[in-house]
Symmetry: C2
Subunit: 207 residues, 2 copies
């Protein structure tokens, strides 16, 4: 009746997400993961059949939790599609520290597994695609409202994702998380120009 209560899987998944986000795939060892999670090696391999399978589970859980934060933003209440799209990007900007404080799990491991772990990169591909489609639903109506055809909602979604991932890289190498926030703000500026609005310049949240 009562399920066996165990949090080994959860602890391992969280440890994996945190360690791989800041070290990548290869540099994160199973021994490090189990030490960080406070779990034994036997327990680890009872819960997951391999490091590769664990990585895929961690990626899926990461996407789910991330999208839950994004989907529940106040921007969703806004009626006007144009204002909603801009508020959405500003929401990402404000939540960027919470969402990608130490990087993005997908971005951190995508490069090094692209040519060696097909199952992982395939899942990353799908998860990126899900995220893009989620963004598209928010951005496309704004373009439609303004009758803009030179750029599609899909184009913009792909671009926003690239801006986020790229800004994470520059933020990491410059050791300054501000670069991520500024990168998203710059995209918002672009979106504002596209939608032919004025006065969308950055409302700085914290210096």
């Amino acid at each position: 009746m009562v399920k066996h209560k165990t949090n080994t899987k959860e602890k391992v998944i969280i440890a994996t997400q945190e360690l791989m986000t800041s070290r990548g795939y290869s540099a994160t060892t199973v021994d490090e993961i189990i030490k960080y999670a406070g779990v034994s090696k036997g327990g680890f391999y009872h819960a997951f059949k391999s490091k590769e399978e664990l990585t895929i589970v961690a990626l899926e859980d990461y996407e789910e939790k991330g999208w839950e934060i994004v989907a529940n933003g106040a921007y969703a209440e806004i009626e006007d599609p144009v204002e909603r799209a801009l508020a959405f990007v500003q929401f990402l900007e404000e939540k960027s520290g919470e969402l990608w404080a130490h990087g993005c799990l997908l971005g951190s491991i995508s490069i090094e597994v692209a040519n060696s772990h097909p199952s992982v990169i395939n899942r990353i591909d799908e998860l990126f695609d899900d995220f893009e489609k989620g963004i598209e639903v928010i951005l496309a109506p704004a373009l439609e409202t303004k009758k803009i055809t030179e750029v599609s909602g899909k184009d913009l979604s792909i671009h926003l994702l690239a801006v986020i991932e790229g800004s994470i890289i520059t933020a990491k190498s410059h050791r300054n998380p501000r670069f991520l926030q500024d990168g998203i703000a710059r995209f918002r500026h672009y979106l504002g120009l596209l939608l032919k609005l004025d006065g969308v310049e950055k409302k700085s949240t914290h210096q």
Copy 2:
């Protein structure tokens, strides 16, 4: 009689650049590098004192060769700062396949060394900075000409770099190099809007 210079260093550097660009730092082993370069382990450790030191040399050489291609573009001949800036971005777009066909060495290893190899990430930081400053020299005069103050040349340079690095990630995970070209084209569109020009957009090809 010209003394024949040993090319062990050069072969190792090229092998390192190619392998690390597509696999990252940790996943690229010294044994793989020497096999790819056709060099013995003794020769390797005679030429470089460690994998870490080699990585820094490979990064510097990578930046030098990359910037040589960028600096010699035809855009440089254009007199008008605005047209020159736009032509520069279009040049990057056209050369993106040559410059970042299999990724960017700096981006590929920056994430995984950020918290474990200070000397490497410090050099990456500086090299990114050099690249940014090089771009700034080209973009800033266009903003000045158009008397645009809401965005600085530095802001735009940082953003272009982020767009490139991020687009490389999405291109890799989607296994489609087109994403990189489109990402740069999207930046050019932004720049065009900023400079209040029309007709700089090209149709997107994402399907």
